[in-house]
């Protein structure tokens, strides 16, 4: 296959430098505004972090526009985002509390940051008791419950399940490990496992409603390993810690590395299962042109979430679980797979559809990652200069 035909935009149709810069200009303005939050940083270390983050984010967007490839560049920022989130989150916890452990006193004071994975667990109790079963605060902080709900509603309306590939601060860890090796060591995963996240979702929603506590956070969340975990004070908290670490090693590190798939995200995460339904209320989807398809099955092999198979290709679309990462689109040398706007014709204008998708998607990714990337850079510079992150 000629290299020029890679991706959906052949080299001959790729925009020139000037047109690319023009297309990137709105994103540069938006990212200056979002990364600085309206106030340019004054401290030299923060200025350096701001400039580095701005350059990184806009270089990635430039390359997305210029090359016509989405996932190749998205994944770099997405993985960086997850790593910087962990650095920033843990260092902030240690600075504020002196430890990654959350004590019961922290909980009754509402000092636990709210995470989007809790959302499905809160719905039944919120409907019946008008309360949120989480030890956080409703408003007033960056990670307050109401603010996180707004972020989730906005991103679900904008991207549907694209949330999992463009917004989620944990997904990049799974994705990073899935890209460690060139070839998959485990090639065949039984498609029946696709139902597991729905079973986990059902279990945690019911268990949380009955116990009036976020069951997944208490017992099953692998990401507790790299964020915060309950202070170890009893046999129960020891068991919880063992479960968190085991699930992290198995689902976020080992299995993604061996299968080259996002195992935690696609086969376990209840938020991912819940988020699948938001693809129904979202204007963007990923479509397949069966006439252009040469049945090379590269898309099936590369999809990190098992969202494309012979059956969905025949129907001309991806499964409801599609995270709109763009990996299959980049992999399809025939240009048979493309982002699409519901209601518009399938033929032609695929690059317009793609650009209309990546603008909002990238606003979410750049804004969400920007704060954490800047903070991680600041902490790293401080660590190098002073020997302490704080």
């Amino acid at each position: 296959m000629n290299k020029d035909t890679a991706g959906i935009v052949p080299a001959t149709q790729q925009p020139g430098i000037l047109k690319t810069l023009l297309l990137c200009l709105p994103m540069m303005i938006i990212t200056v505004m979002m990364l600085s939050k309206g106030k340019p940083p004054m401290e030299p270390v923060r200025q350096i972090a701001f400039i580095l983050t701005f350059v990184l984010v806009n270089s990635i967007f430039f390359l997305m526009i210029r090359t016509g490839e989405t996932d190749r560049w998205r994944s770099i920022l997405f993985v960086t985002y997850a790593v910087c989130f962990v650095i920033s989150f843990i260092s902030n916890l240690i600075e504020a509390r002196g430890s990654m452990a959350v004590s019961q006193a922290n909980m009754i004071e509402g000092l636990t940051p709210f995470c989007h994975i809790v959302i499905p667990m809160t719905i039944i109790p919120a409907a019946l008791t008008k309360t949120i079963i989480f030890p956080g605060t409703i408003i007033g902080t960056k990670t307050a419950i109401a603010g996180m709900f707004v972020l989730w509603i906005g991103s679900s309306l904008a991207l549907g399940k694209g949330f999992c590939s463009w917004v989620c601060f944990f997904g990049g860890l799974d994705e990073g490990f899935s890209r460690l090796f060139k070839k998959a060591r485990i090639k065949n995963v039984n498609p029946k496992w696709n139902y597991l996240p729905y079973a986990v979702l059902l279990l945690i929603v019911l268990a949380s409603a009955v116990t009036l506590a976020p069951f997944y956070c208490e017992w099953l969340c692998p990401f507790k390993t790299v964020t915060e975990y309950p202070e170890i004070t009893s046999a129960k908290t020891v068991i919880q810690a063992i479960i968190f670490i085991s699930l992290f090693i198995a689902l976020v590190m080992v299995l993604p590395a061996l299968t080259k798939r996002r195992i935690q995200c696609s086969l376990f995460c209840p938020m991912g299962a819940f988020q699948s339904w938001t693809n129904k209320i979202n204007v963007f989807d990923v479509r397949v042109d069966p006439e252009k398809c040469i049945e090379c099955k590269k898309c099936i092999q590369t999809c990190p979430t098992f969202s494309i198979n012979e059956e969905t290709i025949a129907k001309g679309k991806t499964a409801i679980t599609c995270m709109k990462c763009g990996k299959c689109i980049d992999a399809c040398k025939q240009g048979a797979i493309f982002y699409h706007i519901k209601g518009t014709p399938l033929e032609g204008r695929v690059e317009i559809y793609r650009r209309l998708f990546i603008y909002p998607a990238f606003i979410f990714l750049a804004t969400m990652s920007g704060g954490f990337v800047q903070d991680a850079i600041v902490k790293t510079i401080k660590l190098i200069i002073t020997g302490s992150m704080f």
Binding site: A105, T129, T131, I132, I139, L212, F364
Partner: protein, 151 residues
């Protein structure tokens, strides 16, 4: 019809860019509006529930929350009541306070807390008061949860 659907699709797709910007620029505003519109609060199992009574001891204050028996539907047989003391700077080494949680004019229990060790003890004069659940060292004071059963 096809053209109209196509036009609506494009309008919706462009509107998504506005939604993305509004999500971040209006996160605080929409968050407050969402909280106000739904009237939602943190579950009392975590927050301790609304403060029912405050006692001013000049150097520190005692805040007694409402008894919490909240379940998903109805009430549980057993619950707790949370008592907070703040600010930390004004607290004596040992706090000993008699409290009437059901407002019947009779003292229901005396809770004693050593603010140096966090050890809390309870002397109950009401059979519905079961004992101490836990004491908590807060940022600016202390809290104790006392276990209760439905009278």
């Amino acid at each position: 019809m096809r053209k109209l659907k196509s036009l609506l699709g494009y309008i919706w797709a462009v509107a998504v860019i506005i939604i993305a910007l509004a999500t971040f620029l209006g996160q605080d505003y929409f968050g407050r509006a969402l909280a106000a519109a739904t009237g939602i609060t943190v579950n009392p199992r975590y927050s301790g529930g609304e403060i029912m009574k405050t006692v001013d001891h000049a150097k520190y204050k005692t805040a007694m929350h409402r008894p919490v028996f909240d379940a998903l539907i109805g009430q549980t047989k057993e619950g707790f009541i949370q008592i907070n003391w703040a600010p930390a700077a004004g607290l004596p080494q040992v706090i000993s306070e008699g409290l009437d949680y059901n407002s019947d004019g009779k003292e229901d229990f005396i809770v004693t807390l050593n603010t140096a060790t966090g050890k809390a003890t309870l002397a109950s004069s009401n059979p519905a008061v079961l004992g101490i659940d836990k004491s908590y060292h807060l940022k600016n004071g202390w809290a104790v949860r006392v276990l209760l059963k439905q009278p």
